[in-house]
């Protein structure tokens, strides 16, 4: 029998199987008997299971150590230490940079991890991981640099927290074991807290569980139907610049014409995709409105817009009181009548002494109310005639720049208007100003002067208080008052038929100089010019002694600018407003002057003094909107300001900016808001193909008293399908996290 027991020795006596093992056993793997007696019986110690076990342990450990060391020392590439493959979106960046031809873009193997993980390299040593994320993603989420909830900061964040649910509803246990890493005060949260990489190439980094949302929204949402708050005024919180009475159109106008009131006709543009799919708040006029509204617009504009009109003054009566206006057109010398047109009023106001003149005119604007017997009345008429000539001379002489400068002078005179402009710009938008002068034909004014005042080339006695004036139009090298003056019909003038100007031998031109022995008015039929200006343009209206602009129809660019100017000046008196604009105001909510509507939240917030500072790594703090000046809080004025913000205007093409304040606000397709919705998958369902299944008109609402004529949507309309095992009910299906200031401002609903 064995003399000893060797339960944990790596070697045992070689004679153990025979039962003749020695009492000592091997020492350090060698037989003591052999050692002590070399000539004795040889015994080779046997390895035990312990020896094998320890050997396996040591070998395995060494292999692990060598493997980890190799991987760590970059010989195997540190990517071998990655916990898993990158998502395809990120992996392709590293691969492309590695295999690209541009060696500057290639990322060395040892630096690929440092592309996203701050390491010991100089470039990334002092950065946080989120900083590295935003190096690429800053354009999509510029406000994410703050690392704050929903990328909001400042007062916007405070407002969000104030109106959101509070973290007070946790259970005691939950409070004990959890802590929120989000420090509201310091606004620090990392991208990787929600977006976990290295989960495989098919991973969607944007997938988020609802539990993550509930890190802050601590009212735990076990289900959408039971726990989500009821909708308040979704989705009708935003106001619109288009006045459209759905109920009236459906019940009155469409039914009268026996037409089908189909929502899709006006709200779906199949060739575009917007924020909510192919559904838009409004589409082009041509698609939605033209079939009914084109003719009324044409009818409204057929008389054109009087730009400049020769006032009709009874010279005979004036003479009877000892005053006269020499050189005044005969056609305008019979009666004292007419009104000063709105545009002419504005042009007069822009001139020196114009403001005073306008004050002297009757409030109604009707000249017949001026008492010729009164010396003041006569003086006013004399001043008016003088101002009229002055304007015509200026516009004929200076042309379009003269028109532009007149508008500029007018605007700069108005102190309140200056505050309505973007505070980061002391100048008016140039392209907006240019539109006032665009298309104006200076030669028309010259021709008008020629026709009405060409005989009055002598200094005019304008009464006691008005200085002499002479026509200031000059031909180069010729002095004023010379018989060879440009406007005297001299053959050498620019109006010579041999000239290639627009006013030359064209037999259709109304401005063509008369042939010999034939008066101008006798050459062509003096028909109503709008018959010949069916597509818009300028004309001399001899019947009304006016220069008239005939708009092209809907969305006339020139008329639009003047109406905008009127809105900005907040012209109150109806007599002083452009009458054609009434047609526009029927559909376009141009200002709050003609309807009682609550201002948009953004305007309210602006008035409250909130300010937003955008901070990027490159830019210093640049105020986007400064809001502490009092200004008209109409939707239109806010929209106008926004459209002309220099920072925003860089993102919009000029044609979009031009009429932006006339249109329903169109959100940029890439603009994120807290609540998102896409019509496209919903409209495929037969049940929802009828828009009114969700958007229900409420006939009890009136346009004057509310912001929308639709009943707010109910949560139950969504929970019918959005359940856990049906359409899904995760938070991120309908809500975005990365919103940022711009999305927050544009998407925040109006509050009462």
């Amino acid at each position: 029998m064995n003399q000893y027991r060797l339960p944990r020795q790596p070697f045992k006596c070689g004679n153990s199987p025979t039962g003749e093992s020695c009492p000592v056993g091997p020492v350090h793997g060698r037989c003591t008997l052999s050692q002590s007696d070399p000539a004795g019986k040889e015994c080779r110690p046997l390895r035990t299971l312990i020896w094998w076990s320890r050997s396996i342990q040591v070998c395995a450990t060494l292999i692990a150590l060598i493997g980890v060391s190799l991987a760590w020392s970059n010989l195997g590439g540190k990517q071998s230490l990655a916990p898993g493959p990158l998502s395809s979106a990120h992996a392709q960046l590293l691969v492309a940079a590695h295999h690209g031809n541009n060696s500057e873009l290639a990322i060395p193997a040892e630096s690929r991890c440092a592309s996203c993980h701050p390491g010991n390299e100089t470039k990334t040593a002092k950065l946080k991981q989120s900083d590295l994320c935003l190096k690429c993603h800053i354009q999509e989420m510029p406000d994410a640099v703050y690392g704050s909830p929903h990328d909001l900061h400042g007062k916007s964040l405070e407002e969000l927290v104030a109106n959101g649910d509070r973290p007070n509803t946790q259970s005691t246990w939950a409070k004990l074991v959890s802590r929120s890493p989000i420090d509201w005060q310091n606004q620090s949260s990392e991208c990787s807290q929600c977006h976990r990489e290295h989960q495989g190439s098919a991973q969607n980094l944007n997938e988020m569980t609802s539990e993550r949302c509930q890190a802050c929204h601590r009212n735990a949402f076990h289900s959408f139907s039971s726990d989500h708050p009821e909708f308040k005024d979704y989705p009708y919180g935003r106001t619109t610049n288009i006045e459209f009475d759905h109920v009236k159109h459906r019940d009155l106008h469409f039914s009268k014409k026996a037409a089908t009131f189909d929502c899709k006709t006006c709200h779906i543009q199949s060739d575009q995709v917007g924020v909510v799919g192919q559904v838009f708040r409004s589409v082009a006029f041509e698609q939605a409105c033209a079939s009914c509204h084109t003719q009324p617009i044409k009818s409204a504009i057929q008389d054109g817009l009087i730009v400049l009109q020769i006032p009709s003054i009874n010279r005979k009566e004036m003479k009877s009181f000892g005053s006269d206006i020499l050189g005044w057109p005969t056609q305008a010398s019979l009666l004292t009548d007419g009104v000063v047109p709105p545009i002419m009023r504005m042009l007069i106001e822009s001139e020196p002494g114009g403001v005073e003149l306008l004050r002297e005119l009757p409030v109604s604007g009707r000249l017949v109310e001026l008492d010729v017997a009164d010396p003041q009345g006569r003086a006013t008429l004399l001043k008016l005639s003088d101002m009229t000539k002055q304007l015509m001379q200026k516009l004929a002489n200076e042309g379009q720049p003269g028109f532009r400068s007149a508008v500029e002078n007018l605007l700069s005179k108005s102190g309140t208007l200056a505050s309505a402009l973007p505070s980061n710009s002391k100048k008016l938008p140039n392209d907006w100003l240019d539109r006032f002068a665009s298309g104006i034909p200076p030669d028309l004014f010259r021709a008008a002067w020629d026709e009405w005042f060409d005989k009055a080339n002598t200094p005019i006695a304008l009464g006691q208080n008005v200085p002499n004036r002479v026509p200031s139009i000059q031909v180069s090298g010729k002095s004023s008052g010379d018989e060879d003056d440009l406007l005297t019909g001299n053959e050498e003038s620019l109006l010579n038929p041999t000239d290639n100007s627009l006013l030359s031998n064209d037999p259709k031109s109304l401005m063509a100089p008369a042939g010999k022995g034939v008066s101008k008015s006798e050459r062509f039929k003096d028909s109503r010019a709008w018959d010949q200006l069916a597509f818009g343009g300028w004309m001399i209206d001899r019947q009304r002694m006016a220069i008239v602009y005939v708009p092209i129809g809907h969305a006339d660019p020139w008329l639009s600018r003047w109406i905008e100017l009127e809105e900005l000046r907040q012209t109150q008196s109806p007599n002083h407003r452009i009458s054609l604009a009434q047609q526009c105001r029927q559909c376009h909510a141009l200002s709050s002057l003609n309807r009682s509507v609550k201002p948009e939240v953004s305007g309210k917030a602006l008035a409250a003094g909130s300010s937003m500072i955008k901070k990027t790594s490159a830019d210093s703090a640049v105020p986007l909107i400064k809001s502490d000046e009092p200004l008209a809080q109409s939707n239109w004025s806010v929209a106008f300001r926004k459209a002309n913000q220099s920072s925003f205007s860089q993102q919009w093409p000029s044609e979009e900016r031009e009429n932006a304040c006339w249109k329903s606000e169109k959100r940029a397709a890439n603009l994120r808001q807290i609540t998102k919705f896409d019509h496209t998958p919903h409209l495929t369902l037969p049940k929802l193909s009828d828009c009114q299944s969700c958007h229900q008109l409420n006939p009890n609402n009136t346009l004057a008293s509310r912001q929308t004529e639709f009943s707010p949507m109910q949560k139950s309309q969504c929970t019918d399908c959005h359940q856990k095992n049906a359409a899904g009910e995760s938070c991120t299906q309908c809500h975005d996290y990365h919103v940022g200031i711009k999305g927050w401002i544009e998407g925040r609903p109006a509050r009462p």
Partner: protein, 289 residues
Amino acid sequence: MDSRLQPQARSLHAFASLNSRDLRRLFPVVTVLLAWLILKSMRSQSAASLQNEAFVTGYSLASICVLLMLLGVRKRVLSPQIGRLAIWQQTHHYLGLLSVGVYALHANVITSGWLESALALSFWSIAITGFVSWYVNHTAPKLLRAAGSQILRQDIPVRSRLVAKQAHELALASAGKNDTAALADHYRVHVSSYFTTRRNWIYRISPSGGKRRRLLAGLENIDRYLSAEGRAQRREMSLLVQSRDDLDFQSAIQNRIRLWASAHSWVLGTFLVLTIAHVILAHQFTSSW
């Protein structure tokens, strides 16, 4: 009794009839379950508060692994001996069970990444060998008791040689007479190799009684060629065959126990190295935890 109450009453009755032994068995299971639920809750809360929940479960798992390794220390430390080894062993078993549950909270069964995959492989190697070792230790005693008296593994070769020697002497004794020579012939042809050689590796992995039954049947078949004395010798030979089989069975079972117990620690060093590397990397490359 009201039929609606019968299932509940049966449950209560079953619970009340539990003896202390059953309760002692239930207690650690319930404790493990409770601990796992607590950790799961902590993980959920950590995830809900935008923490990296893998750190919570990871450090929990690491702590459990350290406690598991203390059993090895306890076995090797002769003085002072804190607590009974049996209790240590039981605690080790239940902590092992808990560690698998916590691993499921920490990572997927199939991981990605070379380091993490190697770490997962080493963890599962240790866990599976541990489970098998536990099972073998749980079932082996009954088998060993059925195979005869207790005998140390080191003594089995000596006993086997002794049995072989006895069988050989018996065969020699039966060879000298005509009425018992059949036994000697049968021993020479069919039985001698059984006593002198080791069993094959299939038997050593999964011992069975097939060969023993064949040999015993073969010995019984030669009874008609033997006298009364020869049959007595034959019965003695059968007992020796039985003894040898018992010894081989004991050896196989005891080797099985030792092998799985030994395998349980083969990749322990690897696991430690990979764990340390994993922890360092996790802290180095994670921005928020």
